[in-house]
């Protein structure tokens, strides 16, 4: 089987390298499209029959393994297929700009990595054992590393990519340690073996290793620091696929591992831990998101926040499961799974929109934009859908997943067991929901509404229609999940039933009527909005409707520089939560004694305090040790021969002394 796989892979790579530079994207799209079609076919089959075994084989390292698609994998396969295809369609227009500047080999490498990332993500979720899992995981890391390096001539891109690579490998080591522990005890690393290990040993240490490893990828607090660095550095379509789906493999991993725990007290502990992590991640992410003045950094922090929400849902699910309440478990888990799906849709769309803005403005600074809804109307409408969805506003998809999580919590509060956990989560989730509104009205309002803050922005034009078509895919899915949840959410509830071992029929009987009502209310809401608008227009058509400049409150020399900026919009929150970030200020503010202020430059960045953790004394110490070791690297061949000789002598002496 291996040789054939290698042959297919080699052909695909060769085809991408061989195609002329303008058509590379189509070759890559063909490969990813084929993979996506296969993935969707397998996923649909798995959703109907429950489990599809694709292959069984044995490996040298971790024993017998299996490639299998079950309901959980199927959900993830579906979002990966959608996001990868949309990303490749989008990349055509985005990369156009770079075609002249970059070498052909560089572009080929970019597309090969995109394909590799798409395929390796899919193999991660179908891998049934340590070897295939870790191999796919590593391929995923490497390919995304190359993708971040797209504009490698910029220093900050190289730094972000290296930072990413190092952090991912720290996470990888946790995973290797976890799988090795299981292999040592069970002689296998399939998830069945993991379940066996958990039933005979204390599950907590190994689960902790897994959570640390997967959390690194998912952007779990406080290991999230790579996300806000990597996303602004990477091209937008890469950010879209990384933030939309790649980080979700971390969520998948945790769901998969925790599903093997059978002891209820352990599950309860794990659930509480995940809930607490989720609350911290969500609150930290959303507050930092509201602080940011760069579109892509804001979106990156919002991804962290959404991972937090997903973790909160999972935590609720596990606590509910451990306390024996099936409804809470199902609400929490299906909410978490659905939020994973939803976030993959709206975050992909948001990053595409950010890419449209960047490719026209060559900047992602919030405060230099304004009024883009006039020059880029379609982008503005699509971004509006994503903004409303991420704010969890009805009748869009974000609301449905948060509704499920809230229902889990409210049921939990009523149940009387673990009330305080549910209460804390409820407070956190509603606060997160409120601050998300602040962060995203800031993003949308400052970038797309008002008047242009620079002449450059005023002259922007709409992007090509292929990119808009790529954005329409997630937008359509957002609407369909939001408006017809009673159909679209069913597979997710089935998957949640599969993970929690709950009964699908009874939960569906409870949840689907609610979702049908939500659907009717959603449609009616849209109809009423339309009707009100139509009535208003009809009434106005017979009256005088005039145009006059925005009311300046008596001040007549208003200009567009006086508009509220992103920084001023979030000022209230910054005053409340100033201690969470440390600000670096470039330039100076206007002094109160200056009656006629001259021109100033003022640039403030709100940096994450956790960043400092990775710039503390121990980093300095390691740096110094490394510099010491570097002195051995003289560059002279005779020195190296001497090192080899010294090593051999050392080995000999130690052997003679029976030390090794």
């Amino acid at each position: 089987m291996y040789p054939y796989l290698l042959l297919v892979a080699a052909t695909a790579v060769a085809a991408i390298f061989a195609t002329p530079v303008r058509r590379k994207v189509w070759t890559a799209l063909a490969v990813v499209g084929a993979a996506a079609v296969a993935a969707v076919a397998v996923a649909v089959r798995a959703l109907t029959v429950g489990e599809v075994v694709l292959a069984r084989f044995s490996t040298q390292f971790f024993g017998d393994e299996i490639i299998v698609v079950d309901r959980l994998s199927a959900i993830f396969l579906l979002i990966m297929a959608v996001a990868s295809v949309a990303t490749l369609i989008y990349s055509k227009g985005y990369v156009e700009h770079y075609l002249k500047r970059m070498s052909t080999a560089h572009l080929s490498l970019h597309y090969v990595s995109l394909v590799l990332l798409a395929v390796s993500m899919m193999t991660v979720v179908v891998a049934g054992g340590g070897f295939s899992f870790l191999l796919s995981w590593e391929l995923m890391t490497i390919s995304s590393f190359i993708l971040i390096l797209f504009e490698a001539e910029r220093t900050e891109v190289r730094r972000a990519a290296l930072n990413y690579l190092v952090m991912m490998h720290i996470g990888f080591m946790f995973l290797v340690a976890a799988f090795a522990t299981v292999y040592a005890a069970e002689g296998g690393t399939t998830f069945a073996a993991l379940a066996g290990y958990f039933s005979t040993h204390d599950a907590l240490p190994v689960t902790a290793l897994f959570v640390l490893g997967f959390g690194m990828k998912a952007g779990m607090f406080p290991m999230h620091v790579w996300l806000p660095e990597a996303h602004p550095a990477a091209p937008s379509h890469v950010s879209a696929v990384m933030s939309g789906v790649m980080i979700k493999t971390g969520v998948y991993g945790i769901m998969r591992v925790v599903a093997q725990i059978s002891s209820m007290p352990t599950l309860s502990t794990v659930g509480i831990a995940i809930l607490v992590i989720g609350i911290a991640t969500g609150l930290w992410g959303v507050i930092m998101a509201a602080f940011q003045n760069d579109i892509k950094r804001l979106l990156a922090y919002s991804s962290i926040e959404n991972i937090g929400v997903i973790f909160i849902g999972m935590g609720i699910g596990y606590i509910g499961l451990a306390s024996g309440s099936e409804l809470i478990a199902m609400c929490g888990m299906s909410g978490a799974l659905l939020h994973t799906v939803n976030h993959s849709l709206f975050k992909t769309l948001l990053f595409f929109g950010a890419g449209n803005v960047y490719s026209k403005m060559h900047s992602t600074a919030l405060d230099s934009m304004g009024g883009l809804s006039k020059s880029m109307p379609v982008t503005a409408i699509l971004m509006f859908v994503a903004t409303a969805a991420i704010c969890a506003l009805p009748p869009l998809n974000g609301f449905i997943s948060e509704l499920l999580i809230y229902m889990g919590m409210l049921d939990g509060v009523g149940e009387g067991r673990g009330t305080l956990y549910f209460l804390t989560a409820l407070v956190a989730l509603s606060l997160i929901g409120g601050v998300v509104v602040l962060a995203f009205t800031k993003l949308y309002g400052i970038v797309f509404l008002g008047s242009p803050r620079t002449t450059h922005v005023a002259e922007a034009t709409e992007v090509d229609s292929l990119r808009l078509a790529a954005m329409a895919i997630p937008a359509a899915l957002i609407l369909s999940i939001g408006l017809l949840p009673q159909y679209t959410v069913r597979p997710v509830i089935e998957a949640a039933a599969w993970i929690t071992g709950g009964d699908y029929a009874s939960t569906a009987a409870h949840l689907l009527p609610t979702l049908s009502t939500v659907s009717i209310i959603g449609f009616t809401l849209l109809a009423v909005i339309g009707a009100l608008y139509w009535l208003k227009r009809r009434a106005q058509s017979r009256r005088t409707v005039s145009s006059s400049p925005t009311w300046g409150c008596g001040f007549t020399a208003v200009n567009e520089r006086m508009q509220y900026t992103g920084e001023s919009f979030a000022e209230g929150l910054e005053n409340l939560a100033a201690s969470l970030s440390h600000d670096t200020v470039d330039g100076r503010t206007i002094d109160k004694s200056e009656i006629f202020p001259t021109q100033h430059r003022y640039d403030v960045r709100h940096k994450d305090k956790i960043d400092r953790l990775f710039a503390a004394w121990w980093v300095e110490l390691m740096h110094r040790i490394n510099m010491g070791v570097m002195r051995l690297r003289s560059g002279k061949i005779n020195h190296y021969v001497m090192y080899a000789l010294l090593l051999l002598i050392a080995v000999l002496v130690l052997t003679l002394l029976n030390l090794i």
Partner: protein, 306 residues
């Protein structure tokens, strides 16, 4: 069905009367004769008959926002029962839907304000977004308190069963009603959080976001404001009704009187908060609702043990 229609009509009556009671209370306390009781309805009627002035900076979003604001407030409004009557809309978990529908109406106005490109409206939008974020936990906590005490997650079920509550819990439900009244002050933009009658745009919150609206749009936003006020006033009155066993005949007037008098008296007696104090004020409301939840939780635990 008859009960549902009666419920909706009562809610409408509550929504249009509260502003009248507020105006009358203020006039009496200031020693004036005051406006006609339904003057605000006549004002709205005048606005509905007018044309409009739009700024060239604004786009379709600005023109659509009042419709979204009104439609979502109306949707939230239709979920609210009057004591044990059935509301028009209801499903398990609708407390979440009410909170998010109100958020939708808030978001539509925030974005419309930013669409005008005015620094003053940006100011109002920023404040509204912050206070909206801070009050959200208080709303969910108070809803959770009611859900915990009654064991249901839809407003209709909560208030139709809450009448059989244990006597010990009466005080908790009354306190929850008090918090809902506080939330009403914040959501409706009333003194001490915001002053709808202030003359300086710099100090406004809600009013400054609607500076550029005129005619039908302004009327829609005002009507949405009445509906929103009625939502929280009625929930507060329902909680009182549940605690002391009123029925709908008394709950609806109670909502009007309590909300109207409390707002009218507060606005006559005290000035608006300094803006920097508003966050503290709202966080205090949140803390209060957390405290009430915990008291309710402890009482509930005790009762189960004994």
């Amino acid at each position: 069905m008859l009960a549902r229609i009666l419920n909706t009509l009562l809610m409408l009556a509550v929504a249009v009367s509260i502003t009248g009671v507020i105006n009358r209370t203020r006039a009496v306390l200031a020693g004036r004769k005051g406006l006609r009781f339904f003057q605000h309805l006549f004002d709205a009627k005048v606005l509905l008959g007018k044309g409009a002035v739009y700024s060239p900076t604004t786009g379709i979003l600005f023109r659509l926002a009042p419709c979204v604001c009104l439609a979502s407030s109306l949707a939230a409004f239709l979920f609210i029962p009057v004591a044990d009557l059935d509301p028009l809309l209801s499903f398990d978990g609708d407390v979440v839907m009410v909170a998010y529908l109100l958020a939708l109406s808030r978001v539509s106005l925030i974005l419309a304000a930013l669409d005008t490109g005015s620094s003053f409206e940006g100011m109002g939008a920023s404040r509204e977004a912050l206070y909206g974020a801070l009050i959200e936990p208080a709303i969910m906590l108070s809803m959770a308190t009611l859900a915990m005490l009654s064991g249901y997650t839809s407003l209709a079920d909560i208030f139709s069963t809450a009448r059989s509550l244990d006597v010990n819990l009466t005080i908790v439900v009354l306190l929850a009603a008090y918090v809902f009244l506080k939330i009403m002050f914040v959501e409706a933009g009333r003194v001490p959080v915001d002053d709808p009658r202030t003359h300086l745009e710099l100090t406004m919150i809600h009013e400054v976001m609607c500076l550029d609206y005129s005619g039908i749009d302004l009327a829609m936003i005002q009507i949405a404001g009445w509906l929103k006020t009625a939502v929280f006033a009625m929930i507060a009155a329902d909680a009182v009704a549940a605690a002391v066993c009123f029925d709908w005949l008394l709950a609806a007037p109670l909502a009007v009187v309590v909300a109207g008098l409390s707002v009218g008296i507060t606005e006559s007696m005290r000035a608006r908060n300094k803006l920097s104090r508003n966050s503290t004020y709202i966080l205090t409301v949140t803390a209060m609702s957390a405290l009430i939840f915990l008291v309710g939780y402890l009482l509930l635990q005790n009762i189960e043990i004994v």
